[in-house]
Amino acid sequence: MNIDLYKKLNAEGLISAKTLENVFEKDKNPLFSLHWELKTLLYLGVTLLSTGLGVLIYKNIDTIGHQFILLFIAAICVGSFFYCVKNRNPFSREKVKSPSSFYDYILLLGCLSLLSFLGYLQFQYHVFGDNYGLATFIPMLILFYVAYEFDHIGVLSMGITNLAIWLGATITPFTILSNGLYSSDPLIVPYLFLGLLLLTAAYLSERYNFKKHFKFTYQNFGVNISFIALFTGYFSFYEHPLSFLWLITVLILAFILYQDALKNKSFYFLLLVILYAYAAISTLVVRVLFNMDSEAAFVMGLLYFIGSAIGLIIALIQLNKKIKEI
C-alpha cells in the first residue's frame, strides 16, 4: 500500500483525515488473502478424488475389492451430504449465503460421488433395467433438487447437463461445436427444445422471484444452445427453399433476448446476442452474393464485411455508453 499517495491525497483535501487514519491502521497489519489459492486447491482435490474413484471402480469391477471401493464411495457420498445438511443455512427463495467455500466443494464432491455410485449400480446390477431414460432422469431430478435445496450453482449446471443427456443431447459449448454442426438432424429439435426450455426457466426464475440468481446459469446455457441449434438447423436444411426461416427465427429470438439483456444491463448477453444476430445476417448476405457468382459480388462481399464490422464497433461502443447511463 502506497502510504505517501494517501498522504498526498489528504493534503490536497481529496480524502478526509478519518479515511487516512483507516488506511494507516490497515497498513500496520496488512492482510494477505489466500482465498483463491485455497479455493483452487479445494476444487482440484474434489476433481482428483472423484476422477480417481471413478477410474478405480471401473478398473476393479469383477474383483472382490470393488465392493470395498463402492462402500468407500458411498461413505464419501453420505459423509458429504451429512456434513452439508449439518452446516447448511435454512432454505429460502432468495440467494442463501453459503457457510464456507469448503461447504460448496463438499457438496460438489457429494454429488459427483453420488453420480459415480448410481452409474455403477446401473452398470453392474441394471437397477433401472435397460431403461436409459430412467437411469438419467433420476440423477437429474436429484441434482436439481440438491441445487435448489442447498443453493449451489455448480450443481445446477450439472443438473442442466444431465437434463440434456436425458433429452438425448450432450452439451458443452465445445462438444456442440466439435460434432454438433454437421451431426444428424434428429438432434436439432431436442437441442432447440432444451434451449428454449432453459430460457423459459431463466425467465420464470426472475418473474416469480424464485432463486433469481440462477437466471444467469439458465440463460447462459439456453442462449448458446438455442442459437447453435438454430444454426445447425439452417445448415442441415441448406438446400431447402424455406431454410432461411431458421435464420429469421435467430433474429426474432435475438431481438427478444436483446431487450432482456438491455433491461438487465448485462453486457455479456448483449454481446453474445449481437454476435449471433450478426452471424445470421452475414450468412444470408454471403449466400445471396454466392448466388450472384460474379466479381462484383466478391467486392461487395468484402465491402459488406468491412462496413458492417465498422458499424458494429460503433454500435457496441454506443450500447456500452447506454448501459452505463441507465
Binding site: L9, L31, F32, L41, L44, L48, G52, M158, L271, L316
Partner: protein, 395 residues
Amino acid sequence: MIIYNKTWLTNLDIQDQIRPSLAAGELTKEEFKNIEKAYPVGFYSPNIFVRSGLFLLTCVIALFGGCLLTYLAWDLVTAHSGAWVLFLGLISYIALEVIVKTKHHFRSGTDDALIWISGGLFCVAFTWLTFTMDWDFRTTMNTTISMVAFTFILSLFLAIRFADSLMSLFCFLTALLLAVLLAIDHLSFGKEILPFLVMLLSALVYYFSWSKSSHLKFIHYQHCLRFLQTGSLLTLYLAGNYYVVQELGNELYGYTTIGPYKVPYPIFFWPWTIMVPFIYTGLGLYKKNVILLRTGLILIAIAAVTFKNYYHVLPIESTLVLIGLITLGGSYWAIRYLKTPKKGFTSEELSEDTIPGGINVESLIIATTQLDTPSGTENRFGGGDFGGGGSSSNF
C-alpha cells in the same frame, strides 16, 4: 517513447492503487469520485466484453480490408509480394497510431488487435523479403536467427511503445530463443550449456523485473513487469525440469553411438525439478508475493506430473485418490486455521472478485470444466465413460 498520454497513465495508476481501499470500505464513494475528478483519465478502455467484441471485429475489418486492397492491386501484388505485405503492415500500424492518438483507445480491443496484426505482418514481410532478395543466408540457421532477431527487435519496440503486457512476454520469449539459437550456432559447447544459459537469462530477467517493479522510471510498465516476472519464473524452472531437458536433449542429439540421450547430472536436475516449485511457494508465502506463490503452486503440479512420468510408485487412480484426499484435507485445515487471520494471512477474500456485469467467475469455471459429459447418447453408463455426470479429468 510511450505513445499514451503520460499524465493519464499516472492518473490511472493512482486510481488503480486506491481502488482496493474503496472495495474494502475505507474510502467513501464520494471521495473516490473526487479523486477521479482531480486525476482524470481520458482513455477509452471498455470492459472485457466490449474489449473482446472490438478485438474480434477489428480482426474482421483487417482481414477483409486486406483482401479488398490486395484484390484491387492484384497486378502490383504478384510482382512485389513481400513489399505488399510490408505495405499492409504499415497501413495497420498507421491505423493503430491514429486510433490511439486521436480516439485515445487504451487496451480497448482495437489497439490490442492492431498491435498483433501489424507486428505479424511486419514479420511475414521481413521473412518474405529476405528470402526473395537472397542475402547471404547460406544456411537455414542463419535465416532462422535473423528472423528471430527481427521479431525480437520488433516486439521490443511494440512492447515499449504500447506498454503491452503480452507483447513484452512474447519479447522475452523471443529473446530467450535468440540466445539459444546463437549459442547453438556460435559456441562449440553451446548445446551443453543450454539449460544453464536459459536459467541464467531467466534469473536475470526475473531479478530485473522484480526489483524494478515499483521503480518510478518504469511506472507505466507495471503490467508488463508482472507478466515478465511470471514468465521468467516459469522458464527458469522449465529450463531445469527433467522432462524438458530430456526431450529437448533428444531433439538436439538424437540417438548417439552410446544409445539414446540421457540427461547428464541427474543429481542436479532431479532436485531442481522437485525442489524449485516448493522454494517458489515457500518464498511466495514468506515474502507475501502473489506471483511467486501462484507460479510455485502451478509448478508443484507440473513437478508431480514429471515425477509420475518416470517413477510409477502407485497406479494412476490410487495416486489421484490419494492426492485428492491430501489436497482436500490440507486446504480444509488451512481454511480452518486461517479463519482468524494469523501472521498476516487470511482465508477470507479481501474484496469480491467479479468481472463487470456481476458474473460469478467461479460458477463459469465449474460449468465449463465439470460438464464435459460422456458423449454418445446410447448405453450411457457403459464403457469408459464411467465418470457419471461430470467427473471427467480435464481441468
